[in-house]
Every structure is written in C-alpha cells, then in structure tokens.
Symmetry: C2
Subunit: 176 residues, 2 copies
C-alpha cells in the first residue's frame, strides 16, 4: 500500500481513543502487569507514547521541513516513561496523550505537506538519511504496534486460566 | 492472574467499541487488505466475531449450565464469515457485533454465575472436558487476540513505506 497523508492522519487521530477505550476503568492488575522481566505494561506503553509526542515524531518532522544544515535527529529515549510517568495516574497519562496528539496533528496539517515535502530527508542517528514519508509511515505503524502490544500483554494474563484453548489463540504464542 | 467474572465482562463489553474506533470511516484499502494468501482482513475478522456471538461463547455457556446429559459443543465454523458477511458493509457488521455482544453479556450476567458454576464442565469436540471458567477466559483472550490481529494486519500495509524503521517495529516481524 502506498503512503496516504490524509488516511495516516485519520489513523493517528484514532489511537488515543482506541487505547483509552481498551484501558479505561480497568483495575491496576490489568494496567500494570507486564510480560515478565523488563517488558512493558500497558501503563508503561502509554507513558512511552506521551514521550513520543513530546520528543519524537513531530520534532523530527520539523527538522526535516526546516532549513537547518544539520538535520540529524536527537536519539529517542525509549525508557523516559519510567521517570516521567512517576506519580501519574493512567487517566492523567491518557489525557496528556489525547491532548498532545491532537496538537501535533494540528501542526502536521498546518505544514501543508505535498509530494515534494514527503521526499525531503532528515538524518536518523542510526539509519542515516530517511524521508518524511518514511518517518510518517513509521509513526502509523508504531501506533498500531503499541495497540497490538497492549492487547497481547493483557491477553497473556489469562493464559493459564484458558486451559487448553491457548493452542488456538495465536496471540498467546506471539513473541515479545 | 486469576479469572475474574466482573473484569472479564468489562473487557468483553469494550471490544465492539474498540474495534469500531479502529476501523470506522477508514477506506476499503485498510478494511479489506489481509496479510496475503488465505489470511483474514479486518473485515473478515469482524464477520468472524459476529459468528462467534451467534454460535460459540454463549451457546457453549448455556450447554455447560444446562441439565442436558450430552454436553458436547457443536464444532465452531471458523470460515462462516466468508458466506455470512457477503453483501454486508463493515458498518452493518460492526452494528451487528455491538448489538449481539450487548445481548450476550446481558445473558451472561443473568446466569448469576458463582464459583461453583465456574467449575462446571462441557465437552469440547477436540479438547474434551473444559470448565466454564476456561471457556470465559478463552473468550476474553480471543477478543484481545483479534484486536491484536487487526492492528497487525493494518500495520503491515506500511511495511515498505516505513523504509528502515521495521527493524524496530516488532509488530512487522510478528508471525501470523
């Protein structure tokens, strides 16, 4: 499938509502349980998405569309949420995510991005030159990937209780 | 985690809204694209969930809680949606799913299921004896598994467009 800006904005706009629908009003056992070890709970994932709104996707879009000479992105901190979410309820994080996402999509629309702008590049600290189109596609996949992860983490809570069924429940066999 | 009926009903009640939020108003390219071969598109998955409401989870709960001597479940038809969804829009299927799920959860609540009832058994055509607790746990995992599948199927649409990012987007490496 080819990248489509309008459809991408539509999907990105849905994510905070989808994740709120999944998690809202559930007890902490469902929100704070992870897949073991240093894996992430749904609560950790929402914190990670909040941090992405503050430092990742739109900041990198801005760099690509700017006229600065050094277009190297700041490395993204994948563990920032463990510090930044401290003391915040899930509701607070979800509201923050909704608000920031809405503001960021307004900014994205205001750029009036055309085909030419989509081919502009920035420099990823690891990948090297990447286009705006690749960055925005990755943003969409990243959102869907974290909804995917939240449902997998939750599903695993009933792996034992489901008795013989896990054989036919592929989500329980997925790797991390 | 131990099975909890109230929490399970809460999660089961969310699913139609979560899936509607993800899919509503998206163009057919996102709704009808699958992972290749005979895999399922989001549209196929919603049809499968509708069929499950009609013939699977509540029907099997009824058998377990009934006084009939032969408590063997009917085998579930995993391909019924390819016939039953024909000619139906996604919106129609989503409305049907919402409606049936709501009715089925009303029935589930009306059974006034206690700890003793949760240990009652029925006979799965392949697994043999299974408890009501295992059936209801599997229902929750099954829901989460299909939200998981829908987001994975959608994410793969941008696998090429995301350029070098798929290396860090685990959802694109997941097996079917």
């Amino acid at each position: 499938m080819e990248f489509n800006l309008t459809e991408s904005i539509q999907i990105l706009g849905k994510t905070p509502y989808v994740i709120s629908d999944i998690l809202k009003d559930l007890p902490d056992t469902w929100i704070k349980t992870n897949e073991g070890g240093d894996t992430w709970s749904p609560y950790d994932i929402v914190g990670h998405l909040v941090h992405g709104e503050k430092t990742d996707w739109i900041s990198r879009t801005l760099i690509i569309l700017s006229e600065v000479t050094d277009k190297t992105f700041e490395p993204f901190d994948r563990f920032a949420q463990f510090k930044n979410s401290k003391g915040k309820t899930l509701d607070k994080l979800l509201n923050e995510f909704c608000q920031l996402r809405s503001e960021n999509l307004q900014k994205l629309k205001a750029f009036k991005i055309d085909e030419q702008a989509l081919m502009k590049t920035g420099v990823h600290p690891e990948f090297g030159p990447v286009t705006l189109k690749q960055l925005l596609s990755a943003w969409v996949v990243h959102d869907l990937g974290h909804i995917n992860q939240i449902t997998r983490v939750m599903a695993k809570n009933y792996k034992i209780e489901a008795g013989p069924w896990p054989k036919y429940l592929a989500v329980l066999q997925d790797k991390l």
